[in-house]
């Protein structure tokens, strides 16, 4: 019976991942075309990611003079696996949770902490200067967003009295966390962008490094890296929807429908940042993250704490 549950969990997370990645790629194309002043053709944009994938898959894999071939191969797989675990920690509906652990936000945090390893390996492995700078940049970025990310999730756990995600969702029955912890969601999304090295926080793969960490990657590996990155974005959006937007809570429609809608509501602006917000400079991001975002996230914990104590009276 347990084995069956595990198989179902794997299959459902796989399905959600594929759908989420496809949606993310589609939204990115649509927003990009709209911003570029091109005609937005939603149906063409549906097939465009597949066309790009086919064209990329037909290219051979190149290598460099003395890469670390094993870790290079591992990097996209590790990133995707971590993102999938992060997604698995998010409940879709009451009882519909792939990885039902008592310490859900710790599991999510652990998976997301290891993302730094995957991105660093992607930049380090080719033994090429520009990807290497990209990899090291991501360590600076990762160590800066990790603490605010964990702390805002802890703040959300306060009123729930639990580290599991499902109680965090049900604790929002009367008031969503986005309202009672107003600092939480913005800080979480900023950290999430860093986690997915996307848009303004696409520091390891920035245009100033001519593609940075994946500059030397070609062929199927390039596709896999992109898929894994989008999956991180989906996991971030899904967790944000559960923790800050009340997850499956909502009238009329089934919980899963609400959860999907809320995830999309977070995913679209996350993706759109790429087309509206310029890439931030690494060093200044690190300073701001430590000097402003971390203190703000700790302030968020106190607001949440006082609120939770008042509510408990």
């Amino acid at each position: 019976m347990n084995a069956l549950r595990v198989v179902i969990a794997v299959l459902s997370v796989g399905t959600v991942s594929v759908a989420g990645i496809y949606l993310a790629a589609w939204v990115d194309l649509l927003v990009g075309r709209a911003v570029a002043g091109l005609e937005v053709r939603p149906l063409d944009a549906l097939i465009a990611p597949l066309r790009w994938g086919a064209a990329t898959a037909l290219k051979a894999r190149t290598t460099t003079e003395r890469p670390d071939a094993e870790t290079w191969a591992l990097a996209p797989a590790l990133l995707a696996a971590l993102a999938a675990v992060g997604l698995a920690a998010v409940p879709l509906a009451p009882g519909l949770l792939a990885a039902d652990v008592a310490n859900g936000i710790v599991l999510f945090g652990a998976a997301m902490a290891l993302v730094v390893v995957a991105v660093f390996l992607q930049g380090w492995s080719p033994n090429s200067p520009l990807p290497m700078i990209g990899g090291y940049r991501f360590i600076a970025e990762g160590l800066s967003y990790e603490i605010p990310l964990a702390v805002v999730l802890i703040a959300a756990a306060l009123p729930a009295r639990s580290l599991a995600i499902a109680p965090i969702v049900t604790s929002q029955e009367h008031l969503w966390n986005i309202v009672r912890q107003p600092l939480g969601l913005p800080l979480y999304l900023m950290a999430g962008l860093g986690l997915a090295f996307w848009g303004p926080l696409a520091l390891p793969g920035g245009q100033d490094l001519a593609g940075g960490s994946s500059l030397e990657t070609s062929g199927v590996s390039r596709i896999l890296w992109r898929l894994a990155q989008l999956l991180v974005l989906v996991a971030v959006a899904a967790m944000g929807a559960a923790v800050f937007l009340g997850g499956w809570l909502g009238p009329l429609f089934p919980g899963a429908a609400w959860m999907i809608v809320k995830t999309v509501i977070l995913l679209v602006p996350l993706i759109a940042t790429r087309h509206f917000v310029a890439r931030v400079p690494t060093e200044r991001y690190v300073v701001v993250s430590w000097a402003i975002l971390i203190p703000l996230s700790l302030l968020d914990v106190f607001i949440a704490g006082i609120q939770a104590l008042v509510a408990a009276r």
């Binding site: 570029a36 597949l50 086919a54 898959a57 037909l58 290219k59 520009l130 920035g206």
Partner: protein, 456 residues
């Protein structure tokens, strides 16, 4: 086989991914390629299907282009366009292989308008296997013999000696924070996308901070191009040079200036991560008219409001007043408080009430602002100018700086780079180089060539 065919059929609808290698006399074509939906200009040869070789390249550039070509994963192809259908000259005597043109099976295009379609066709043929992938241009020889050398056959001896896998390890160098760690030489260019095509820098870094910058071969483009005859001046370059000797409509000059600044802005936005918005600006650069300047005003407002762009450029790449004074002029100097502008000397501009745009700050943000303000001002001038003509006074204010003086602003900016970039983080250095708007064709063009162009 069936899978491959199916993938190729699916891939046929995608834009052709090109890596562009841009030489002299291609400035009419290269900037606009990003506007074509058939093409996707990529940053890395590892992601490219087609190598686009545009314009005239000298030996050094051609050798680098061969290196870029070989880095592309098969199936790959080459599409070349050159003015007057000619091909560049031979390898230098020290070159690895004495071939005149390294790309044996390139597709040549005579009409630049055909480039996108030809690219797509070439890409489809390559991916479907109807055309063989282009072979390596450089010999398959390790950079240094290492196989079987050393006690473990890895080419090395000791901890840091030898040439393991064909290359040595870097040596240590002093650093300002007292840690004596390895200094890595990054040979930037000539075709590293965020940098202007043709700019060659040897950058020594420790970590992501630049310690030393040198220019290995100053004005690498010039000698061979000169031997093959002075390059002709095309497009806006021809227009600005014509104004040296003959009256030219002010409106034409100013529209060309606004267009140049917007093309620069599109690239600067792209490097900042706003590729889609850059494309919008590029389209605006192509379609704008002095009579309808509102889109440019909207753009200026949007840029001013965008905090992230301000954050990335404020305080970056400071050009001091003394450095600005050493420049021949141009927007970079004007952004650092140096008000020289050749247009101030022209009575035709005086009648239009022209005053130069000057900012005192001297950072990358100021340069962005000066260019955007100048683009707006240029459109306003063009509208007011009507039929009025410039006065040929032997000095013309080009988009990058004065033309007709002792030396070009771009050449002066290139020689300024080594001092300017030292101590910067890599990303800030790129922001700085982009904000300087160095025109490598102009920098490589000796002053005589400008005069020669004037004479022709």
């Amino acid at each position: 086989m069936g899978v491959k065919a199916a993938l190729a059929r699916l891939a046929a609808g995608a834009p052709a991914r090109c890596f562009a290698v841009v030489g002299a006399e291609a400035d009419e074509i290269a900037p606009w390629l990003r506007l074509d939906p058939e093409l996707a200009i990529v940053d890395s040869p590892r992601a490219a299907d087609v190598l686009l070789v545009l314009g005239r390249l000298d030996d050094e550039m051609l050798r680098a282009a061969a290196g870029v070509h070989d880095a592309m994963p098969p199936p790959r192809g080459v599409l070349s366009w050159s003015p007057r259908g000619e091909r560049p000259v031979s390898w230098p005597p020290g070159g690895e292989r004495p071939v005149s043109w390294p790309f044996t099976d390139d597709v040549r295009v005579d009409d630049p308008a055909q480039i996108p379609a030809a690219c797509r066709r070439l890409r489809d043929e390559l991916l479907s296997g109807r055309r063989a992938s282009s072979p390596d241009t450089l010999p398959d020889i390790d950079p240094a013999p290492w196989r079987g050398v050393g006690p473990f056959g890895q080419g090395g001896a000791g901890m840091t000696g030898g040439v393991p896998y064909g290359r040595p390890l870097a040596a240590r160098a002093d650093d300002r924070d007292g840690l004596k760690l390895d200094q890595i030489l990054v040979r930037v260019g000539p075709y590293l996308p965020p940098f202007p095509s043709g700019l060659v820098l040897d950058v020594k870094i420790q970590g992501d901070v630049i310690q030393e910058v040198s220019i290995p071969t100053p004005a690498a483009v010039a000698p061979d191009l000169m031997s093959a005859g002075a390059p002709s001046l095309t497009g806006e370059r021809a227009l600005f040079n014509a104004a040296l000797t003959q009256p030219v409509p002010v409106a034409d000059i100013e529209v060309a200036r606004a267009r140049h600044h917007l093309v620069w802005l599109a690239e600067a936005l792209r490097v900042s991560g706003l590729e889609a918005y850059g494309r919008r600006v590029l389209k605006l650069a192509r379609t704008m008219r002095p009579e309808a300047a509102e889109p440019v005003d909207d753009l200026s407002r949007w840029l001013r409001r965008n905090m992230s762009l301000r954050w990335g450029t404020r305080g970056v790449g400071m050009v001091s007043a003394s450095r600005a004074a050493a420049l021949p002029g141009g927007p970079v100097a004007r952004a650092a408080g140096d008000g020289r502008d050749a247009r101030s000397l022209d009575p035709a501009y005086g009648r239009l009430g022209f005053t130069p745009v000057v900012l005192e700050v001297g950072d990358a943000l100021a340069r962005w602002r000066v260019r955007i303000d100048e683009a707006q001002q240029a459109l306003a001038l063009a509208q007011r100018a009507g039929q009025s003509l410039t006065t040929p006074i032997g000095l013309v204010e080009g988009p990058c700086g004065p033309i007709g003086g002792d030396r070009s602003t771009s050449a002066a900016l290139v020689t300024m780079l080594p001092e300017l970039l030292v101590g910067m983080e890599w990303g800030d250095a790129v922001t700085t180089v982009v904000s300087l708007d160095i025109d490598m064709a102009e920098a490589a063009l000796p002053h005589d060539a400008a005069v020669a162009g004037r004479a022709s």
